[in-house]
Symmetry: C2
Subunit: 118 residues, 2 copies
Amino acid sequence: MAYEKKIPVDLDCPLRLTMSLIESKWKSCILDELRGGSPMRPSEVHRCLPEAAPRVLDIQLKEMVEDGLVAKTIYPELPPRSEYVITELGKSLLPIIDAMLRWGEEHFEIFERKYGSK
Amino acid sequence: MAYEKKIPVDLDCPLRLTMSLIESKWKSCILDELRGGSPMRPSEVHRCLPEAAPRVLDIQLKEMVEDGLVAKTIYPELPPRSEYVITELGKSLLPIIDAMLRWGEEHFEIFERKYGSK
DNA sequence: CATAATACCGAAAAATTTTTCGGTATATGA
DNA sequence: TCATATACCGAAAAATTTTTCGGTATTATG
C-alpha cells in the first residue's frame, strides 16, 4: 500500500482540527500558491517553493488531496503530467490563510528586530 | 543557560512567520484558554488542557512569553505562584484563532465521517 | 511524619516531520 | 548518446517536537 499519513486529522477539538490540516511546514504556503484557482503542476509548485524539499511537497500535496483541500488530475501522457487545484473546501480556508498573511506582514518588524540576524 | 528554542520564528515569509508562532501542538489552544484576559496559573492551564503533557505546556508557554504573545508574572511567594496573561500582541492573533475555531466547528462532520473511528 | 500541591528544570526516550538519496520510466533536445 | 525534464516512490537519515521520568524546594493538610 502507498504512503500512509501517520497522524490523521485531530478530531478532539475544532481548533486542533483546523490546525492539524494546515500546520505542517508547507501546507499553508501550498494553499497560498493554489489560491488563484488555476491548476498547478507539481513541478510548478516545487519551483514556487524552492526552499521545500520536493519530497515533502509531494507528501503534503498527497495529504491535502486526501483531506479534500486539493484535487488532483492525472493525465495519462508521457512524459507524465498531473495537476493540482484547490477545492471549495480548500478555498474556505483562504480567509484564515489571508488573515495569517496579513498578521505576518503587519508584525514583521517586531520579530525582525527580535530575531533577525543582521 | 536555560531552555533554548531550537528553531526560532520563521522570518522568510509573513505566512510562515505567523504559522511558526502558533503551529506547535498546543499553542493555539493556550491562546484560546487565555483569550478572556484574566491571568491563569500554570496549574490551571494544565488542568484545562489535560491531554497535553505538563512539560510541553511549560515549554510552549515559555516560548510564547519570549515571542511576546503572553506575559508572565512571578510572585515571590511560597509555595510558588506565577501567572500568565495574554498580551496585546497575543490578542491580535485571536481573530485568527477564532476563524480556525469556527472553521473547525463548521466542517467537523466532514472529517468525522472521513476519519472518525466509530 | 507522610503526602499532596505548587512551579520548574534537565535528561532521555519516543514519536513525528522533514530531508536526502537513490531508483522507476519515458520523451526531448544538444 | 548523454543530459535534462517529467512525476513519483521507498528507505533511511536528520531534525524537531512531544512525552516521560526523575529531581529541586517549600508549604499546607491529614
